[in-house]
């Protein structure tokens, strides 16, 4: 009996020990992630000052609020908030017991100094409506607004509004985010080799995850290694061979091949941007609105989605992603394929069809320049656009530039047409690309218009409520569309692929992008 008991005890202990070891092995596992092509090249993990951030940033820093896929806002480091009726003050209650990775406390004073740190940075626009921040008590702050800002919660949920440790931020200066990055997030920065990889290690003290994650405690995974793999084909092969577990931003071309792989699962999320063709309204023949309108009607968005993207994603008929309410414009203003009408408009503008299929006006041929940046997906799209413009008698000459040179070309007003894309899920993108204050770049259309600027200013600064903001931006959007400043082409999906034999990924994905909240629920598959 004694022997038996001892054996049972030993067996039991062995099982418990094995279980613990097993569990420890699972907990100790590293998960490798490859950034999407659009995330490559981040030079610092500094949400306050950086112009480019990647997904790892959302694991180092928490935000006051989080945005879900349905555009609703959820508490995170702010447990609740209240806006005054006139929109001139916002009061936020902060979560208690939160500490930064350097063990300094997160409190109202930290929020106050954090907001102040945006002054003079690239990202200052995010807080420019905030006049001052009052510390009411240790866990309550009040934002006194210079003007109502219905977009404040959106801004606060942005990756650029992750909250850094004020102590580390002050001590490190320009090196903050380069040599060290200190936030309150579920993972701490262990190493950052620019252009190569970032290693994050679990914050064992973390117990303040938002309700967008099932797991609000420390992350399941001990370390995440984020790799920068510049060649998309290589990244795809790494996933196939188990070199990485998770690939963010799978190119649409690879989806069919990946779907055939038994161990690979794909998550598709609604896109947060569009591909489009801006038209330089100051460059003849596009100074004639009829030519611009005809150009828009030459592009077969549905055909492009089917031919280039295998039906994945959606055609774009105006400038905003379709999940935004401001995208719901007067249907007559949407840009749609109509080559016959395009031909009539060009005839009306004086461009008649020549013998060789290129339109002419007198001795002048309808030959235009078509610029694009040197990424494979945009280059292919540009070639199809070139062919479709050719169908209406417009000869487009493609020139491919690197990203720095093409901006110079825009600034020098040397362009006519260009194929570009953007990622932004807010209607204020209209201000970014069409404000007369940013001619050349990012206002590639070179559009300067009194009424347009008035509508822009109203939408950006004179909206008191969310409903008012939607109405104002819709009006501005409709006016922009009526001027034929660009041709919308394609709304891609966000594609994420993972190795289902090594990790499990939350389904459905919460949030508008696959970032921190989803990583919290990633688990190792045993």
């Amino acid at each position: 009996m004694r022997y038996s008991t001892k054996t049972q005890l030993l067996s039991g202990s062995a099982i418990v020990a094995a279980g613990l070891l097993f569990s420890a092995a699972a907990m100790a596992q590293n998960v490798s992630v490859a950034f999407s092509a659009s995330e490559l090249g981040a030079t610092a993990y500094n949400p306050v000052a950086a112009s480019t951030l990647n997904t790892a940033t959302s694991l180092i820093y928490d935000r006051l609020v989080e945005q879900d896929a349905d555009q609703s806002y959820h508490p995170h480091l702010a447990t609740s908030w209240e806006e005054t009726a006139d929109g001139m003050a916002w009061t936020f209650s902060l979560l208690e017991g939160v500490t930064f990775h350097d063990d300094t406390p997160f409190n109202a004073a930290a929020v106050q100094s954090w907001i102040a740190s945006y002054a003079g940075t690239e990202n200052e626009y995010l807080v420019e409506a905030i006049g001052s921040v009052d510390v009411i008590d240790d866990l309550t702050v009040r934002f006194n607004m210079d003007r109502p800002e219905p977009n404040l919660l959106y801004n606060l949920a942005s990756a650029f509004m992750g909250i850094p440790s004020p102590t580390a931020f002050a001590e490190l200066g320009d090196n903050f985010g380069v040599t060290a990055a200190v936030g309150t997030g579920p993972y701490e920065l262990q190493s950052f080799e620019i252009g190569l990889e970032t290693v994050l290690v679990r914050n064992e003290d973390y117990i303040w995850g938002s309700d967008l994650s099932e797991n609000t405690g420390p992350g399941h995974i001990e370390t995440f290694t984020f790799r920068e793999i510049p060649d998309q084909s290589t990244a795809f092969l790494e996933l196939r061979t188990g070199g990485i577990d998770l690939l963010l931003g799978v190119p649409t071309d690879f989806l069919q091949i990946l779907e055939a792989e038994a161990n690979i699962q794909i998550i598709q999320m609604p896109g947060v941007g569009i591909s489009y063709m801006p038209i330089n309204v100051t460059a003849p023949p596009f100074d004639n609105i009829l030519v611009r309108q005809a150009t828009g009607m030459a592009i077969d968005q549905e055909g492009i989605v089917a031919a280039i993207y295998n039906g994945v994603g959606a055609p774009a008929h105006n400038f905003l992603i379709s999940s935004l309410p401001e995208a719901d414009v007067d249907p007559d203003l949407n840009v749609t394929y109509n080559p016959a009408r395009a031909g009539e408009l060009l005839d009306e503008a004086g461009w008649v069809m020549g013998d060789d299929g290129v339109r002419v006006m007198g001795d002048e041929r309808l030959t235009v320049s078509l610029y694009t940046a040197n990424t494979t997906e945009l280059t292919r799209l540009t070639q199809v656009v070139q062919a479709q413009l050719g169908e209406i008698g417009m000869e487009a000459i493609i020139t491919v530039f690197d990203s720095s040179t093409i901006r110079d070309e825009y600034r020098n007003n040397a362009h006519q047409l260009a194929v570009r894309s953007y990622d932004w899920n807010n209607s204020d993108i209209l201000d970014w690309f069409f404000s007369g204050n940013r001619l050349g770049y990012p206002n590639v259309s070179m559009w300067e218009d009194e009424e347009g600027q008035r509508l822009n200013d109203v939408a950006m600064t004179e909206s008191s409520t969310s409903a008012e903001r939607i109405a104002n931006f819709t009006a501005y959007h409709e006016y922009v569309l009526s001027q034929h400043l660009f041709v919308p082409i394609y709304q891609p999906t966000q594609n994420i692929a993972f190795n289902a034999t090594s990790i499990s990924v939350p389904d459905p994905v919460r949030g508008s992008r696959f970032r921190g909240q989803s990583f919290m629920d990633i688990q190792v598959v045993e």
Binding site: T43, E193, I229, D231, A235, E409, W432, P442
Partner: protein
């Protein structure tokens, strides 16, 4: 004699280095684009721009800028990267070991394998082997690096699972990049070795050596090889410059860091100090390679050092 020759060659490098440094300094100003544009906030005023330009010393006379730059270079002070926001020396130090390892191994691989194959094909006169070698040399000289890299990944990493697809961790991650870069070099070195040996075999002194009754092996290793090595050394010396910067495509496909990748990234962002430092390193490598080649040739062939000394 060889020391005097080496000293003369070193002296000649001074004007060459000066000319190269001027070209490197000026070339970045001829590029379209501006690093300040990458730093400026959109919608910034001309005053903001002027402030940044002054901060990085770009408002000074070009001649002054050049002498400040070259003076700093002599002291090993590469400056601060404008866009990457780190000391340039740190960026170079981070990437240089990867380039040296990859380039050095590829150089070693292409030299040894190339010379061995070239020698075999020159001494073993078999039509099948000859055709194989000609085909191999043609393939090696023409196959694009990125295509070969993908082919090797598909075969060795995806199908066989022997090596990682990409990355820079451990010796295994070096095998496929070394094979990719080395393949072209192997073909080139093999071709030059083969032609040089075949030419040497037709020299009168070889007939004399045979007549004296020396064995073929002795003739090959003691008399033919030193004679045939001269052009091979020239080719190898020129490839030393490649060690640092010749692997850009391969670094891209295999997701490896390196000086070539750093240069491309810095060029894309018009990060002048980084571009200048990288170009200077590459130019130095080429000059060093040429110097080593010249000295090696001179030490092997007295006619060269006597003619040039």
């Amino acid at each position: 004699m060889i020391l005097r020759y080496t000293f003369q060659r070193l002296l000649m490098l001074i004007p060459v280095s000066f000319s190269i440094s001027v070209v490197i300094f000026m070339i970045v100003y001829l590029l379209p684009g501006d690093p300040i544009d990458n730093l400026l906030r959109v919608g910034s005023s001309p005053e903001d721009r002027a402030e940044l330009v002054a901060q990085y010393g770009l408002d000074r006379n070009l001649v002054v800028q050049y002498f400040v730059w070259i003076g700093n270079m002599f002291q090993g002070e590469f400056g601060q990267a404008i866009v990457l926001r780190r000391p340039v020396a740190d960026l170079v130090a981070q990437n240089l070991p990867y380039s040296l390892t990859l380039g050095g191994l590829a150089f070693l691989f292409s030299s040894t394998v190339g010379m061995t194959l070239g020698t075999i094909s020159a001494i073993v006169r078999h039509p099948v082997l000859d055709r194989f070698m000609r085909g191999f040399i043609l393939l090696g000289s023409t196959v694009p690096g990125f295509w070969l890299a993908l082919l090797l990944i598909l075969f060795f990493s995806v199908n066989l699972g022997w090596f990682p697809v990409s990355g820079a961790g451990g010796w295994k991650s070096l095998v496929l990049p070394v094979l990719t870069i080395g393949f072209g070099g192997v073909a080139l070195v093999a071709r030059v070795t083969r032609v040089a040996l075949l030419d040497a075999q037709r020299e009168d002194f070889v007939t004399l050596l045979h007549a004296k009754g020396l064995s073929s092996r002795t003739i090959l290793f003691r008399h033919l090889m030193p004679h045939a090595l001269l052009p091979v050394v020239t080719i190898l010396a020129l490839r030393i410059g490649w060690i640092l910067g010749g692997a850009v495509t391969v670094e891209f496909v295999f997701g490896r860091p390196g000086l070539g990748s750093l240069l491309i990234r810095a060029l894309g962002q018009r990060d002048y100090p980084v571009v200048q430092a990288c170009l200077l390193m590459l130019a130095l490598a080429v000059m060093l390679g040429t110097l080593i080649g010249d000295v090696a040739q001179a030490s092997m062939d007295p006619r060269i050092r006597e003619r040039k000394a």
